[in-house]
């Protein structure tokens, strides 16, 4: 660790909370030897292995893909695995659980409220010909431009950083929040989808998209560049056009009718049995 000559000790001020013994969270400080390239997640592992085995947090992939290790690092929501300690700390680093969620223990927030809101906006392709979704017999055609209209919003990893940074969500627990609203726009902008008007009932409600007043923190903290603030503004535009009956009513794209005519070839094996 000291081979590169840049090792130093950083004070980790970690929020601790044990639901069985503590009435409220408190901060405990650990001295952690840190060298260049170490992430906050590495630092937490160091604490758990050498200083305090009772420390709890959530993580999985360690490479900024799963979205499990979202935390408040020096007051800013970020992924612990994606943040190098020496990039954000000189001598002290505060590590706290994501705000605007309940704390289960130490640094592990309960993201259930976010997933409930996400589920409520029907985050999947909704079509009248549901049989085609359940048992597809062809492909839907989309141009690259049509793909670009929603591709950016598909990169969301549901880490909850945007929900923790949102000042509106801090005072309105019923506000849907940046992640579910961006997910709604992701499907609304998809030419295969026909569920926008159904989602409008929720996204256009008093706790929907118009509660956002563009503080922009969700886009600043998003570790994947999803830009939820942009998605929400596009969602609002569509809501206004729908409300004024100015939106062009376009049916969802049809099955591909080009070469092959979208028909299933005889030698393709059937899909495996459903597991969920």
């Amino acid at each position: 660790m000291r081979e590169n000559g840049k090792a130093r000790t950083i004070n980790f001020h970690v929020t601790r909370y044990n639901p069985e013994s503590d009435r409220a969270p408190y901060v405990k400080t650990y001295q952690v030897p840190v060298c260049e390239g170490m992430t906050v997640l590495d630092g937490l592992h160091n604490i758990k292995e050498n200083l305090d085995p009772s420390l709890a947090w959530r993580y999985s992939c360690r490479m900024g893909v799963c979205g499990s290790c979202g935390m408040l690092l020096n007051g800013r929501p970020a992924l612990a695995c994606n943040t190098q300690i020496l990039h954000i700390a000189e001598t002290d680093l505060t590590v706290a659980p994501l705000p605007n969620f309940e704390i289960i223990r130490d640094l592990a927030p309960d993201l259930f409220s976010m997933f409930e809101k996400h589920r409520s906006i029907d985050p999947y392709i909704v079509r009248a010909d549901q049989a085609e979704i359940e048992d597809p017999e062809g492909e839907f055609y989309q141009t690259p431009e049509q793909l670009e209209a929603y591709l950016q919003f598909t990169y969301c990893i549901k880490c909850g950083c945007c929900m923790a940074a949102c000042p509106t969500l801090a005072t309105d627990a019923r506000y849907l929040g940046p992640m579910p609203l961006a997910a709604a726009q992701r499907y609304n902008a998809d030419t295969r989808d026909d569920g926008r008007r159904g989602r409008n009932r929720l996204t256009g409600s008093s706790h929907g998209a118009f509660r956002c007043h563009y503080a922009g923190e969700c886009s600043r903290v998003c570790p994947k560049g999803v830009d939820p603030a942009k998605a929400i503004q596009h969602l609002k535009r569509r809501l206004v056009l729908d409300y004024l009956h100015l939106a062009r009513r376009k049916p969802p794209c049809e099955k591909m009718t080009g070469p092959g005519r979208g028909e299933r070839l005889a030698n393709i094996a059937p899909a495996p049995a459903r597991t969920v």
Partner: protein, 145 residues
């Protein structure tokens, strides 16, 4: 299974101020809310004061209560709040109608967000607000005389 005890970590009003990185749009957001609440308070007081006319008290006529310097400054603050709230509101209307935020793009690190795209609009509106404030200060604070 026993119900787990949870600690509610909602930030509340502190969430307006803390919680994330301090970007200029967040300052604009906080100031927009504060000026909105300030203008609302002014309207309520305005109704109370003008309704005093029913009891024969005219506090706003020459030489009366509301001609003290502190109220002249208060008037200027109301004007400043109004100028900021109105111009920032124009920006928000444009942004919320999908103008000045750009189209969805492929997220390539370092990420560019819609905040960068609308920043010139924000700066223009704030420059306009400053011009309004200067003109208002000239008039309200008695510099015109």
């Amino acid at each position: 299974m026993a119900e787990l005890k949870r600690y509610d970590n909602r930030l509340g009003l502190w969430g307006w101020l803390g919680g994330g990185r301090w970007g200029v749009e967040r300052y604009a957001y906080i100031l927009h809310r504060l000026t909105g609440l300030g203008i609302l308070c002014y309207f309520l007081l305005h109704i109370v004061v003008t309704s005093l006319r029913a009891t024969g008290r005219y506090l706003w006529v020459e030489g009366q209560f509301f001609h003290r310097p502190i109220f002249k400054f208060g008037e200027f603050l109301v004007f400043a709040a109004f100028a900021y709230h109105a111009l920032n509101g124009v920006r928000l209307v444009l942004v919320e109608l999908g103008f000045a935020v750009g189209k969805p793009i492929e997220p390539v690190y370092p990420y560019r967000t819609s905040l960068n795209v609308q920043r010139p609009l924000l700066i223009s509106m704030m420059v306009l607000a400053l011009i309004f404030l200067a003109a208002g200060g000239y008039e309200f604070l008695g510099l015109a005389r």
